[in-house]
């Protein structure tokens, strides 16, 4: 029984590694196409200088730094999912640890790229090693990032080791010689005897123990880049834990998207990445969004209530000013994401008789709301100035939003995976906006320089798209070389299950 299942696992997971079909090349070509413009424009930035961005004085940091924090954030996936769940011996983690850990590594690599892209003198990167001052927060960040990247790579490698040995032993005849050699080299003479297994397991647990504090340190230190300056809006002690929560949140989001992508790409994976995993991750997601709202409320409410001269204009620009679309957009996305995950838990699968729960009702509410809003928005004279109208409008908007959310609940209940993916994309976008909302309002509201604005230029947008392209490209290529699901872990899980059944 165990033997046949193991054989089955190997067939399903290994065969696609050697299949270079149209689908694969199509995806690679698409990713290369979206990556190329950004790289070209970055080349131009290298030659001309950072003037090609919209950065200015006082907005010395912009989209690149936002991307940096965002990418650091998604790298939390590995730490939380794999390290924490390994230590807690949670069984359902087995099929997704590989993807989670690899996302950490890729996220950190691309985050490092952002720092280099943001530097005025990337040619002097090594100066940080030669002349580095350990008292500077940026050095803490560089050190923390390097340690985290190395540890995460090590964790990923350890976890890959038995699978590489399987690949070495099962490579079909048609496999090119260099690939065989690669597997042979990387398998590091793994023979899978008892002693090696014992050591491996010990090593994985040890690395997991280290990975968690290192991961948390990186996110905290990244927040310290901002909170150790004396700039209003940043000098807050809450920023550290806020960044960690945001990181776990967006890390989970990316993990769900990545595993769904893998599932769509190779439909056989549906057997392994089951709905149960989505449900379980969904619960962690819901808890994180609760914590996130708690922090956001703290930050927003306290500063708004105290109305301190320096801090308040920054908060006001988020609540009503130039950053209000980003701020309220972020909140709307987060509320929608939380609803998508939470609401289906309260309804039954059976068709409901309540008309409010019908999808068409919800969708029409959304359309009506959008139509009214755009009509009012386009008026030559702003109608939002009147306070009575404003209140009525806000109430109507909330009511329509609620109807829309109620309407889609049934659909969400029956479409667990699409709804998780949509919620995750909302969270990812929302978390990018969150970082934007932390950085840009403070930078545009300097103390002794008139308030300014910042709109990323084409270069910055293209480089951002490029970065996402590179991230996905590494992901796709990596999983052409290594199975996206840990074969040995799944086998071990099955053995344990059968053993328990006996």
């Amino acid at each position: 029984m165990l033997q046949t299942l193991a054989q089955h696992d190997r067939d399903e997971l290994i065969a696609p590694l050697y299949r270079f079909d149209r689908k694969f090349w199509g995806i690679v070509a698409f990713l290369a196409a979206i990556t190329a413009p950004g790289l070209l424009l970055y080349g131009r930035q290298l030659i001309v200088g950072l003037g090609v961005t919209d950065l200015n004085r006082p907005v010395f940091w912009g989209a690149y730094l936002v991307n940096f924090i965002f990418l650091i954030g998604i790298s939390m996936a590995g730490t939380v999912i794999s390290a924490t769940l390994i230590l807690l011996k949670v069984e359902w983690r087995r099929p997704i640890t590989r993807i989670a850990e690899s996302l950490t590594v890729f996220g950190l690599m691309t985050a490092g790229l952002q720092i280099i892209m943001d530097m005025g003198r990337p040619d002097r990167l090594l100066f940080t090693l030669i002349y580095g001052r350990l008292q500077a927060p940026l050095m803490w960040d560089i050190a923390s990032l390097t340690i985290y990247l190395l540890t995460a790579m090590f964790a990923l490698y350890l976890q890959l080791l038995p699978d590489i040995a399987i690949l070495r032993d099962t490579a079909p005849a048609a496999v090119p010689e260099w690939r065989r050699k690669l597997y042979k080299f990387l398998s590091f003479n793994w023979r899978g005897n008892k002693e090696q297994w014992e050591r491996l397991e010990k090593a994985i647990v040890t690395v997991s123990v280290f990975l968690i504090p290192i991961g948390i340190s990186l996110h905290t230190v990244t927040s310290w880049l901002f909170s150790t300056t004396v700039q209003p809006g940043w000098k807050s002690t809450i920023l550290g834990p806020y960044f960690v929560v945001g990181a776990i949140y967006s890390g989970l989001g990316l993990l769900i998207i990545a595993m769904s992508f893998a599932r769509v790409y190779n439909p056989h994976l549906k057997e392994y990445i089951t709905e149960k995993i989505y449900t379980n991750l969904g619960w962690i997601f819901i808890v994180m969004s609760g914590v996130w709202f708690y922090f956001t409320l703290n930050e927003t409410l306290v500063v708004t209530a105290e109305q301190e001269t320096l801090e308040f204009p920054i908060m006001a620009s988020k609540l009503f000013g130039q950053f209000s679309p980003a701020f309220w957009g972020m909140n709307a996305l987060m509320i929608a994401a939380t609803w998508m995950l939470l609401a289906p838990k309260f309804v039954s699968d059976k068709p409901s008789r309540n008309p409010l729960m019908k999808t068409p009702v919800g969708l029409s509410a959304a359309v009506i709301g959008l139509a009214i809003f755009s009509l009012l928005w386009l008026q030559p004279v702003s109608v939002f100035a009147d306070p009575v109208f404003q209140t009525v409008f806000i109430l109507a908007f909330v009511a329509l939003l609620f109807l829309a959310l109620l309407g889609v609940t049934k659909w969400l209940k029956t479409h667990l995976i699409p709804s998780s993916v949509i919620a995750s994309s909302f969270v990812l976008f929302g978390m990018w906006l969150e970082r934007w909302n932390i950085l840009m309002p403070t930078l545009t509201h300097a103390r002794l320089i008139p308030y300014t604005t910042y709109d990323p230029t084409l270069t910055e947008i293209a480089v951002t798209v490029s970065t996402l392209g590179i991230l996905t490209l590494i992901f796709v290529l990596f999983y052409k070389f290594f199975p996206s699901i840990s074969i040995w872990e799944v086998e071990e899980g099955r053995a344990r299950e059968l053993g328990a059944g006996d």
């Binding site: 200015n56 940091w61 002097r124």
Partner: protein, 242 residues
């Protein structure tokens, strides 16, 4: 040890911006196009700007009008946030209390520019340029520290620069004294803005010498620091208006 310090009497300042121009000519700060300047890319180590800073100048109703201006060099903070932020010690406080900038070391991370509460640090977004014959009038003075250029040496693209209290003038004054075989005196050195100042509103000297003008003025009841609460312990002093 000398502790160089500038005192600016705002009662005497006529907001003519001569200091700004003198600084520009002395320190070879590049000129940018009006569009770039509007986009916050102008480099003025010594800026003269109207108050209040945000939401434009508050002129009052005619005929009761009054404008306030402030001139702002680097504060050469004693607890400088920029120095604390720099990962490679490209900006540092020298033994004479001047916050210096090493252009050959700066990696252009712009942490210091973000950390400085006074907004007096500038980044070279492009390769510096001078229009027409302006380039011929550049200041040839140079200061070398451990082989790398500081002071008015033309900065490369991608590094940060700021007011240095015209440190090359200090070096030159010392060299002159040495060449003439005599002791260097603190009053032999002033930055270009102090020398130029139309209203004679700027004073410069050694804050640690109890007899110097600046230390006498620093005891005045009108003596204030800009953003006293920033925690940076700014050194440049203002004598408040009125």
């Amino acid at each position: 040890m000398t502790n160089w310090c500038m005192v600016i009497d705002l009662d005497k300042c006529v907001a003519c911006q001569a200091c700004s121009i003198a600084c520009r000519m002395e320190n070879n700060t590049p000129v940018v196009s009006p569009e770039e300047a509007k986009n916050g890319r102008a480099i003025r180590w010594n800026d003269v700007f109207p108050l209040p800073v945000h939401f434009g100048p508050d002129l009052g109703e005619y005929p009761n009008v009054k404008t306030h201006y402030q001139t702002r060099p680097c504060m050469h903070c004693k607890n400088a946030p920029c120095v604390k932020a720099c990962p490679v010690q490209a900006t540092y406080i020298d033994e004479e209390g001047i916050v210096r900038q090493n252009y050959n070391r700066c990696i252009g991370c712009r942490f210091c520019t973000v950390a400085c509460p006074y907004g007096v640090r500038y980044f070279n977004w492009y390769k510096p340029q001078w229009e027409g014959t302006l380039a011929e009038y550049r200041n040839p003075d140079q200061v070398r520290v451990n082989g790398s250029l500081e002071g008015p040496a033309v900065r490369p693209v991608g590094v940060v620069e700021k007011c240095t209290y015209c440190v090359h003038r200090l070096v030159k004054a010392r060299e002159q004294a040495a060449a003439e075989g005599r002791e260097f005196r603190a009053d032999e050195y002033v930055p270009a803005c102090v020398q130029t100042c139309t209203g004679k509103a700027r004073y410069f000297g050694d804050l640690d010498d109890p007899n110097s003008t600046v230390s006498q003025l620093s005891k005045s009841l009108r003596a204030v620091h800009l953003l006293e609460d920033s925690g940076a312990h700014p050194k440049t002093l203002y004598l408040s208006e009125g």
